[in-house]
Subunit: 188 residues, 2 copies
Amino acid sequence: MPRRFPDDPAAWQALGTTYLFRKPPWLVLRHQGFRLPNGREIADYWISEYPPWVNIVAVTATDQVVLIRQYRPGLDDVHYEIPAGVVDPGEDIEAAARRELAEETGYGGGRWSVLTRLSANPALQNNITTSYLAEGVVPLGRAQPEATEDLRVHLVPLAEIPGFIDSGDMIQALHTAPLLRYLLRRRA
Amino acid sequence: MPRRFPDDPAAWQALGTTYLFRKPPWLVLRHQGFRLPNGREIADYWISEYPPWVNIVAVTATDQVVLIRQYRPGLDDVHYEIPAGVVDPGEDIEAAARRELAEETGYGGGRWSVLTRLSANPALQNNITTSYLAEGVVPLGRAQPEATEDLRVHLVPLAEIPGFIDSGDMIQALHTAPLLRYLLRRRA
């Protein structure tokens, strides 16, 4: 459990909720008003609801990281990413991560552990992204991306990751954070 | 410029854009269809447009990090954060970061540099968050948060940050990534 302090800000009081869209898992958007602890009201606030997300820092026995390159329409560009996806309804979170790694890259196996649990935006969305560390992964088969996925697999030396972040070649905060957490652990 | 590869996935072709909401800077939501390079079409895709965002890794001369605690309705919880905010129309990005640090914490001064440029989600939103490193900050005045901000300032030793991430006390990917990038640099 995260720690608490006696003087922590109090929760806001919800004043009413209207769902504007219900298209899970892509867009579930609710509108709410809130009353703040100081009595002030926020009339318009929007929160997106998503299923849990997963991603994977997958490293081979020779310290190569399994990355993908993929077009992303929000930024209209291609960058390095780690394999990632959405947890299906009823699916175990680690099983979802193992499935995504296999589908997107063909890699699997190795020793799995949770690396980080992070939010893309705790103000505007309600889900958590669990990042797994998979050490000692090996190619198990062919990648089988979905029909709407168009990606390339790249093996990159772990030591190059900080440079990729500094150069803008890797830009997704939910991907750079677990990679950096792992790198820091390796240097500790 | 990020690097390119000859076999990189091609951009998707936009098939039409409808703006569902225009409430900047909080919610500008557009609906689009896309045609993929393989000819397949995605009928429904939603992208949020935001102004540039900023945040600040502010460290004192004795390696204390200036953090805040703030309620966030997406997760309905309070965590440690770094000071952060939205760049106002026409505002210089570093000026916005200096303003947010002063407003939220009362701290300022020191040596400023860009630490990371990251996206909260390159698939679903269009903006970049610039994270500044401010080393040697000092208290310059009283914090002057906005009426809708209810936050507490905490000074925390830099060495405690990895533990905060592991324990779930710090959970925002856009905040943990630049902090970890800085910690890795300090250990290199």
